[in-house]
Each structure stands twice: as structure tokens, then as C-alpha cells.
Amino acid sequence: MSTTPTMRSRLKRNRPSLRKLARPPKQRTALGSAFNAANLPVALALQHCRDCGTVQYPPRELCRQCLGDALVWRSTRGSGHLVSSIELHHSLWEYFKRRLVEKPWPVASVRLDGGVIVFAHLAMATFGTAANPRLPVGTAVQVFTHTDCSLNAVMIAVAADTPVDSRDQRHAIAAGLGLLEPAIKPEGI
């Protein structure tokens, strides 16, 4: 395959607003890719230290507690509490820019019971609070991952009592957020 950039690929790279299809950020570090792979078969997998048991996030090389080199990916309970939540109205990334035209994009910061802070797409529909979109600090939530249309695992936060045990249930929530389809500009390149 030629590695010379074509006019088409140049345009796509340098002018994302001209693209027909825009997807969530693709780039991850090697550890981020390991997070993606570890999360494929389960609802949520995080690194744990085999020596001291400390849960880790964001993905890292060594245990944040004991600096031990014994991190393993384990299925983890996603229960936690809301630290803060916001609504994005602006993004630097074309996929989000297109989604934001329709409505603001809610994002949460959650302290998982395992001790780590995670940023997550916030599935407001699961809270049944359409009238009052502001969730109070400390609201019980659960967090799971789903593969987005850039083929990366991303965190999704839902109300604590939302059924998310089955893959279909999680898929429906991720689809409802629009994460499984690129944002389309019909007249794009």
C-alpha cells in the first residue's frame, strides 16, 4: 500500500469539518489499547495490583500505591458516586461538535467504590430526571465500558439501579448516546 498521502486523506486529516464521517478520538497510548482489549469481554475491567490490591485508573505502568510491577486487568464492579457533572456545549473534536449541534453533551466525574476517579459519558436518560437535568453531588451511579465507533472502550455512567448486566442492555445505552455511529455530514468527503 502506498504511504503517500492522497489529496483525499490530506483533506480528511487537516480539515475534519469537511469529512463525511466523524468519529470519537481514536488515539490511545499502548496502555489505553490494553484497556480496550481488557474491556472487550466484560462490563468493566481495570488494572489491579496483584501485590497490594489497589485499583488503578487511568491505565498506568506501575501500581500507584506500592510502585509494584504486578498490574493485572480484572473485571471490576462499576458502582460509585458522582463527584461532579457538566454539559459540554463546545468541543475541539469534530465528532462532538456535530453531536453538540443537536443538544449539549453530559459528562460526569465519578469516584468508583474501588477508589479511582473516572470521567464518563453520562447517560442522563437512565436517571429519569428530564425535568431537572442537574444531578446532585454524591448521586449513586454505576459505570461500564462500551466500544465506541472508533473501536475504543469508553466509560459510560448510568443511574445505580439501571440494569446493565447483559451485553444487550449496555449496547442499547451506548447506542442511545450515539457513540456507536459516526456523526455524519451528508455532503462531506
Binding site: 470519537p24 478520538p25 488515539q27 490511545r28 497510548t29 496502555l31 489505553g32 484497556f35 485508573y57 487511568p58 491505565p59 463527584v83 461532579s84 457533572s85 457538566i86 454539559e87 459540554l88 456545549h89 463546545h90 468541543s91 475541539l92 473534536w93 462532538f96 449539549p104 453533551w105 459528562v107 466525574s109 469516584r111 476517579i117 473516572v118 470521567f119 464518563a120 459519558h121 446532585p136 453531588v137 475504543n152 469508553v154 466509560m155
Partner: protein, 394 residues
């Protein structure tokens, strides 16, 4: 801790603020250096120490710049500490002068602003950013700071008007500082409140505008400054602490809480004796954290405190209590020139204390508190730094 006696901070310069620029970081850093030489009367070979902070050097580092600019320093530092860069630079440089490792150190922060460069910086800011924050859509640090702002409002009852008081007073100051990129526009509280939402509760005028520019100063001994005929100011106290309060859910305080008392004791001053406060204002809530943690008011009281304090440089506001704050307009009105923004408060304080500020001069300025904050590695800013500077007596 040994004091900073005998050290002179001289020759504050700001260079080339622009919203967008075809020039790279080396152009802004080198041009700032050229101004430093011109203002001080020194030659390039008199500079034997170089401290550089920049986000956009690309493949280069501080050492590459020595070849670009034909410098031969015997002391060099590169400090990728964002909003704490200026204070960390002056601390490191002062110690190097005291130890005799160098005689004249140029401290420079500079960054370019090429088309879509901010997006690239934001997307690649750190490994944690790449894996765990940028994929969630926030434009650079906006999302993390919106979370902090929202939580601060929830905890302490702050309102948008309170953040607006900071932004509006700073714009007034910028209206008197020609280099400020937004200084040609006035700003009322109504305009502030009417700005479009960015990451609610943050709106447009809570967010700094990325831009290009350079900031710099020289550090040398007082004898050297005197022999060169330069005005200077002194460091009464300075400190730093990084990744403090690391178990907090969210950043409602910074490392300043752990050393503010020591800082005041070493300087022999209290908040009432400070003639101007320069906080790192990447978002107004962060200025409030600094006001609280440095002892100007207690935790959670900053919203009321800014309502009751005239933050304008000339004390022309209606409030009885006066404390000029971010006297050049801060980043919110000058623009955030990458790592140069971490120098903004230091350089502005030096201009004020040596009586070189121009139209935004604070009268009778003797003591300045400068504070730095930087590096949103993931969900919070890791660096904290603060310094108390004084006008030289002789």
C-alpha cells in the same frame, strides 16, 4: 529554607501577543531574549544561564535553542510546568545565582499559536489525557475545570456573578494595558453573563483565549544589577508544592494551603500589606482557590470576598477594600500564550514594582503576591507555586 537575599529580578519584558501566528516557539522565545538583551544592555555572551518553558518547541528542547541563538550557558533548565513555570524559574534561577553556578540567567516562556495547534496540544497533553479525558469531548482542560467550577458552586454557593466580578475587573485592567489582546473591548457583567455556554457552568468569558507570545526576565545578583544601572525587585519568599491533596475527590484547594503560613512568616508580611495580587486565572474559580488558600479569605468565602473587594488596578471601583488583582488583565483578557502564561504574573509584578507599568501602574506598589498553578494532567492541576516580591530599596 535559606532566604533569597542578594538576588535581583530585573528587566521584565512581554513580546508579540497575537491570536494566531505563523511563527514557531523559537521565534517567540528568541525575540523575547532579544528584548531582554536590548533592555539590559547585556550581550548574548553575558547570559550564562537559560531557563525555558514552552509547549510548542516540537522536536526541540532548551538545549537546541542554545544553537539557534548562539548562546553558551553554563546553567540550563527546561521547565514544562505550565502555569507555575515563571515562579519555578525564578526560584531555580535565584538558587543558581546564590550558589555561583551562573551570573546572569535569562528566564523565558514562549509559545506560538499555529492553526489548530491548540487542538494538538490538548489532545496530546499527557498520557492520562490521551487515554482518559480527551476522549470524553472536553476542549482541552475545559471539562475538568467545568467539573471543579460546578462542584465549587454546589459546595459554597458561588454564583456566576461572582466569577464575573473577577473577569470584569480584569477587563478594566486590560483596557489600560496595550498588549492585552482583548484590551480594546470593554466588558460589563451583563455581557459576561450573556456569553455563550462552553462547558456549563463555564461560559465563553470564563475561558482563556489561547494565543502566541513571550514573557521573560533576568535573574542576577543585586551588585550586578546595580552596576548595570537596572531597576530590580527582590524575592521575599517563594515556595511550591505539587500533586498536593491527592486523595481529594475534586480540586477545591491547591498546594498553597500547605505553605501559605510559612510564606507570610518568611516575608514578614500579612495579606493586608500586599499591594497587588497576581493569580493564575485560567478560569476564575482557580483564582478563587488561590485567594482562599493563600489566606486572603477563608475557604469558600472567595465569592463574597470578591464582591466586597475592588480588584481594579487603580482602586476606582465602589468597594471599600482595595486589592489590585491581575493588573494587566490576566490571561482572561491578555490571552494565554502557552507556557508564557505561567510568567505573566511574575513579569507584570516586576513591571509594577519597578514603576514601569505604564497606564495600568498601581500607585505606591511595594509588595506583590504572585501565584502559579499548572498542568492538568488528568482531572486537576498538579503544580502550585507562590512568591512574594518587593520593590528594591536601593
Amino acid at each position: 529554607m535559606k532566604d533569597y537575599g542578594g538576588i535581583a529580578l530585573t528587566t521584565p519584558v512581554s513580546f508579540g501577543y497575537a491570536r494566531q501566528s505563523p511563527h514557531g516557539a523559537a521565534w517567540f522565545i528568541g525575540s523575547t531574549l532579544r528584548l531582554l538583551l536590548a533592555e539590559s544592555g547585556l550581550g548574548a555572551d553575558d547570559i550564562d544561564g537559560l531557563a525555558v518553558s514552552s509547549f510548542s518547541l516540537g522536536a526541540d528542547s532548551a538545549i537546541a535553542l542554545t544553537q539557534h541563538f548562539q548562546l553558551t550557558p553554563r546553567w540550563i533548565e527546561q521547565m514544562p510546568y505550565g502555569g507555575a513555570s515563571g515562579i519555578l524559574a525564578l526560584r531555580r534561577a535565584a538558587r543558581a545565582i546564590q550558589a555561583g553556578d551562573a551570573e546572569v540567567i535569562a528566564c523565558v516562556g514562549g509559545d506560538g499559536a499555529a492553526h489548530r495547534a491548540f487542538e494538538a496540544t490538548a489532545a496530546n497533553f499527557s498520557n492520562f489525557t490521551i487515554d482518559a479525558s480527551f476522549p470524553y469531548g472536553g476542549g482541552g482542560p475545559n471539562a475538568a475545570f467545568a467539573m471543579i467550577t460546578q462542584r465549587y458552586m454546589d459546595e459554597f454557593g458561588a454564583r456566576r456573578e461572582d466569577f464575573g466580578a473577577i473577569a470584569v475587573a480584569q477587563r478594566y485592567n486590560a483596557n489600560h494595558f496595550p498588549a492585552a489582546l482583548l484590551g480594546h473591548k470593554s466588558l460589563s457583567l451583563e455581557q459576561y453573563l450573556a456569553a455563550r455556554p462552553i462547558a456549563s457552568p463555564l461560559h465563553l468569558l470564563d475561558c482563556v483565549m489561547p494565543c502566541a507570545g513571550g514573557e521573560g526576565f533576568l535573574v542576577m545578583s543585586e551588585e550586578r544589577a546595580r552596576s548595570l544601572g537596572l531597576d530590580w525587585c527582590r524575592i521575599l519568599a517563594a515556595d511550591e508544592l505539587h500533586n498536593a491533596h491527592r486523595d481529594d475527590d475534586i480540586q477545591l484547594r491547591g498546594g498553597w494551603t500547605e505553605y501559605a503560613d510559612r510564606l507570610w512568616n518568611r516575608a514578614g508580611l500579612g495579606p493586608g500589606e500586599i499591594d497587588m495580587l497576581q493569580t493564575y486565572d485560567d478560569y476564575p474559580v482557580i483564582s478563587m482557590l488561590q485567594m482562599e488558600d493563600l489566606g486572603f479569605c477563608t475557604k469558600g468565602d472567595a465569592p463574597g470576598w470578591v464582591r466586597d473587594t475592588d480588584l481594579r488596578f487603580d482602586g476606582s471601583g465602589p468597594q471599600a477594600r482595595k486589592l489590585p488583582h491581575n493588573t494587566s488583565g490576566g490571561q482572561l483578557s491578555v490571552g494565554q500564550a502557552g507556557a508564557a502564561a505561567g510568567y505573566l504574573g511574575v513579569v507584570e509584578s516586576m513591571r509594577q514594582l519597578t514603576g514601569r507599568a505604564g497606564a495600568n501602574q498601581v500607585e505606591q506598589a511595594r509588595h506583590a503576591m504572585v501565584s502559579g498553578f499548572g498542568m492538568i494532567n488528568y482531572d486537576r492541576g498538579l503544580c502550585s507555586a507562590a512568591a512574594i516580591l518587593a520593590r528594591s530599596e536601593g
